[in-house]
Structure formats: C-alpha cells, structure tokens
Amino acid sequence: MRKLLALVFFFIFCGFLVFSVFELHTFGNPPSDMDDYIISNAQNETGANNAVTSVVFDYRGYDTLGEATVLFTAIAGVMILFRKGGKHEE
C-alpha cells in the first residue's frame, strides 16, 4: 500500500516536471531587463571593470556575506572536530 502510494506520488511529481519543461520560455525570449541594466550601468555605478565582481560584491553583496558565513561555519565545525589536545586524552 505504501509503495503504491509512493509510486502514484512519484508519477504525479514526474508529470509536474515534464509539464514545466514544455512550458519553459525559449532561450532569451522574453529578454530580461536586469542584464541590460547591469551591462550599461555597472561600470559607472561600481567603478569596476569586471561586471561579475560588481554583481557578486556590490549588487548582491548581502548574498556574498552569507556565502562567507557558510564557509566560516564549515571551517569552525571542522576545527572543532579535528582539534588536538582535548581533556579526555591525557
């Protein structure tokens, strides 16, 4: 019974995925306004020639702060796990 239910939900999920593939827009149509804005304004607004860096660190700087925090947390976890000289060793 549970397996049958799982199979039914699996096919419904697959149906949604296939449906969304057929409903996709064709590539580059309709054109997005965001990339045009960044191409024409990034150099003047941020002063950086590298538009990718201007997006990553200026327009989406908050996102990069979160990325750096994820890295910080991962490294803190590894350091807690692998540090030497715990009190239990002696």
Partner: protein, 157 residues
C-alpha cells in the same frame, strides 16, 4: 629535507613552485575587480599552494611552521573586515554594504564605459571585500586541510 613526506625531487620542485603559486593567487585577489577572478577564486588557488606543500613535506613538518590557531585568527580578521566595511557603508552612506568609496581618493576612479584595460585604483569597496574574502578562504581552507592531514598522520601511527 625531512624524510617524512614525498621524495626529495618532489620536495625541491614544490618549494620552487610554492611562491609562484602564492603570487598568482595574490594577483587574482588584488585584480579581482579588473580581470576575471576575485576573492573566492584566488583564495582557492592560494589554498591549493598550501595543500601542495602539506602533501610534499608532511603535515607535521608544516604544522611546526604555521599553526592553525594563527590561520584561524587570519580567517576571523577577514570576516570582521567584510562586516565592518558593510557597517561603515551603513554609517557613511544609506545602506549596508553601499559603495561609499566611489569618487574618493582611494579606489575611487571610474573607468570609461565599454571594454578597456581598466584602472587598478577603481572599484570602491570591491577590492577591500576581495582582499577580506581572499584572506578568509586561504586561511580557512589551509587550516581545514592541515588539521585533516594531521589527524590522518596520527591515525596511521
């Protein structure tokens, strides 16, 4: 040369390549706002240089030269510089992480529109954030690999 680690040939070539790789990493970090690259990418290159000498010389020998506590201090400094730059933007201009250095004396020049070689003294707060993230990634990834390699060497004995 220590007898732990790989053969003397590998150790010699590695000690020749190590400064060059670090210089390349610093170049990618410092020119992140002009050419392709940035803090994360340059930090990964620099961490790979440290991983190279850890593999060649053995983690024990490297751990005597660079302690992981020092690296952790460097990493925390990078995170603090990032957040403090954002907070200064909140105080001086209107929003968190706003680009308050545009038009100022340092990093304030604005390049011409279109494709051009670019100016190093441009980008506002982007070079500062790149350096902070690069410091963070180099120190953090090196500390992770160094600690894991130390644990592996302890387990082998």
């Amino acid at each position: 040369m220590k007898n732990e680690g790989l053969s003397p040939i590998v150790q010699t070539i590695t000690s020749l390549l190590f400064p060059l790789t670090l210089i390349f990493a610093f170049y990618i970090i410092l020119f992140g706002h002009v050419t392709p690259g940035g803090g994360f990418q340059g930090g990964a290159v620099g961490a790979s240089a440290v991983v190279m000498i850890i593999v060649a010389f053995g983690a024990k020998h490297i751990h005597e030269k660079m302690n992981h506590d020092t690296m952790s201090i460097f990493e925390s400094t990078g995170a603090l510089v990032f957040i403090l730059t954002g907070l200064i933007g909140l105080l001086v201009a209107s929003t968190f992480l706003s680009n308050f250095l545009i038009g100022e004396f340092i990093f304030g020049k604005i390049p011409a529109w279109g494709s051009n070689p670019g100016i190093l003294n441009s980008g506002g707060i982007l070079p500062i954030l790149n350096i902070a993230v690069g410091m963070k990634v180099i120190a953090g990834l090196s500390a992770v690999v160094l600690l894991m390699a130390l644990a592996m060497e302890d387990k082998k004995k």
